[in-house]
Amino acid sequence: MKEKNFLYEFLLASFAMIVPFPGRFAYGIILVIVLAFEMLSISLFKQLVKKLSLDNMLSILTAVLLISESIIFKQFLIMYSPILALTLSFDIYFPAVSAFIISRLTADDSKSMNVEFISDTIVTETKLNMEKTLRFSILALFIFAFRDIFGYGTLTLPARKGLASLMIFHDTEKSAIGALFASIPGAILILLACLFFIMYIEKNLKVAGGIANDDDK
């Protein structure tokens, strides 16, 4: 039950990150890079705080760390491409806040699990966090690619002067139904479809695993 709640909360946090970003693949790539960097730094920072015996200040220190990383990342983005930084001027802070919520969830999750199975080393916790981030990144990139291809007819990559577009659909006489996916309600619909599909697959894998275990017995 705890595991199901964690998945539910994690998926909802992903909801909060994917919806505000514009529907171009390039912004998806930037989101994934920011999130991976922040989740990695959370895992390492937690160990540092434990070593310094500042556990009671972990929440606030993590929040300040994440927002500082967002600011620094935004400066790097301004140096690379000012247009992308301008478009993402406010959205760049969303992963910082969502990563904080996710880190709180992992803290509660690990406390509830048996101590024997949890190693307190940097490598194990980092691996766990990055695995979850990787799963989310694949989902996010798929959603952004879908929105870009069917909403705009292009596949965009981040470039110095904005977006480098690869044309997928050249015919401009097609209907504008794709514009739904480029907009926010369309993003919510695609995200919902993906989340239900993933939850359905995970449920069936668990059922199949349970049946296999019963057969072995």
Partner: protein
Amino acid sequence: MMMISNFFYYVFFASAVFIYGIGVNRSLTISEHPRKFFKGCIKLIISVSASTALTYLVLSKILMRASLTEVYPFVAVLIFSSISIFIESVVRITSKNSMSEYAVAVLSVLLGINESISIFESVIISLFCILSFFVAIIVMNFLRKKFNNSTRSIAASIAIILIIALFWNVSWFAQGVYQR
């Protein structure tokens, strides 16, 4: 007049919850037991308005003169954390998930400062974002009762509400939406 137009903009037309995405996940979770949440909403309102005002003052008087305006989110988080802890110790309202409202509060503060041109407007915009969060919780609570707590139906109906609310978006009807 500005207040009324800002009210309608941030609460309904470009809802901070549905369009900006601030607190869309929290409102889904909180809508199960909204009464527990509303006890702690006074603290949220006070901390957001105080944080926004103080952050705006620090931004306009110190950061702008030092050409360090990009650092304002860091200042906002520090000020919000201090005020939040101070108010909680003074008012003695305890909620189990107090740090979960951190996301909504901090993003409202950042949005208010990002989109304002005066201290008054920044506080007003932050408070309207919080208000839109409350409106979203009430709407989702109603949807929960209608759909018997099925999260999928609620999320799907949110998408439908948004499609209806954004019907005026003329780009949907434009031909040639793909680039040449």
